[in-house]
Assembly symmetry: C2
Homo-oligomer: 253 residues x 2
């Protein structure tokens, strides 16, 4: 199996190394990741400047490639340049921080998996929910390997991806795995206004999670219950239930 | 009606001005847009550096605000800072170039409308399909006004947006309006490899559309038929049909 690995925390992120080490027993792993952190980069791609790829070494001495692009760029460069068009599976992560509910479209980690799905690869995004300073990637790495085996054995529908979130807990405190739907997530207090030394205003984006009771069966709910969440995701964002009512709007003429 | 306007082509783009002028008869229009072009920025947001907002004037002398952020950042800054949390409607565009099928998640224009939907505003992304040098925004601007009136009269379901694509044709050659679903779009020849004056490789992302017969009823199909496409979009990307089969994967334990 030829596996493409990327992330949005950058080539030196410990979550990427943990994932590479977990998947190497399953086949040939090609790590192609951004040269610097690209969190919250969404599904951005680089069209207005050229991209570079540098071969380098991960901290464990294994070969990898750093690119000047976004996570989605890394998928195209990884598949078409580094892997010469031949890949069987894509993993993105392990992200330090959750990608739940509506955060999905902001996430560079998930965007890389969306890009993989568009390019026809079975694709998985993996994130660990932050919990203070606890960033133990081991349970997420172990589950990633299990999931890669399950995809190899069961196949995945074309043009879909899996979004995985793992509680930031030791293995023995994780209570199981739930196949979930994408939940809802809203933020409040989104702006932090400050004044610079010259008296001019500037703004930080921030935001606290709005207190809400999460949907039963959602990704957010699974994490609250200390379970691993696996959400199957497709590329179609159409709100089908609105098509017929909108035809009554008489937009013609 | 208080209307927030943004785009991804930047504050000086002619499509933004055309949209502002079309919507001003319906209420108070607040233009808050990126200070420079941010195409293909996806749903990226700026978390790692602070943002600036500058008040300025559009080419027609009307007040506007340029920000250092992405299209999605402009929506948060526009709503929370410029409009003090009170807005009734968001429009993003008019983009010079289509946003059809899977291009939806790459698009900064659509990302701004996704951000608006997350923040609870009825939100619309409007694009004109490019056709050589023809960039006449007038039919798209006219349709935007009609659509804003229809939203005012019919309401819009919370947490949804509309993705509008208008053929790059004179008004009299546009054959009508279709409420569509999101189609599929794939690219081939995605990489253009070149060598710099020092002998090192670099890469442009490019891509030609793969020849495919578009789905009947899709956005891509409507545009091929010289019709305006309006796609209702929601934030839930779950592939619901895969939840039950995936439960058979026995990922536990």
């Amino acid at each position: 199996m030829r596996i493409l690995l990327t992330n949005d925390d950058g080539i030196y992120a410990p979550g990427l190394l943990a994932l590479a080490q977990a998947l190497r027993p399953l086949g040939e792993v090609f790590v192609v990741a951004p040269e610097r952190p690209r969190s919250a980069s969404g599904h951005s791609i680089t069209l207005h400047k050229p991209l570079r790829i540098e071969e380098m070494r991960l901290p464990d001495g294994q070969r990898a490639w750093a690119t000047s692009g976004t996570p989605a760029d890394c998928v195209t460069l990884g598949l078409d340049v580094v892997m010469e068009g031949r890949a069987d599976l894509l993993f993105s992560g392990i992200n330090a921080g959750s990608n739940l509910g509506w955060d999905l479209t902001y996430s560079g980690t998930v965007a890389a998996a969306i890009e993989g799905a568009i390019l026809g690869l079975p694709s998985v995004a993996v994130s660990v929910v932050e919990n203070g300073s606890d960033r133990d990637f081991e349970p997420a790495a172990r589950f990633s390997r299990r999931l890669a085996e399950a995809i190899r054995d069961n196949g995945m529908e074309r043009w879909t991806l899996l979004n995985v979130n793992v509680p930031a807990l030791p293995q023995e405190r994780i209570r199981g795995v739930t196949v979930t739907h994408q939940g809802r997530r809203q933020y409040v207090d989104r702006i932090d206004r400050r004044v610079d030394p010259w008296g001019r205003a500037y703004y930080w984006l921030r935001g606290s999670l709005k207190e809400e009771t999460p949907d039963e069966g959602s990704d957010v709910h699974a994490i609250l219950e200390d379970r691993i969440s696996v959400t199957p995701v497709h590329l179609d964002m159409t709100a089908y239930s609105l098509i017929a009512p909108m035809r009554e709007w008489k937009l013609e003429g």
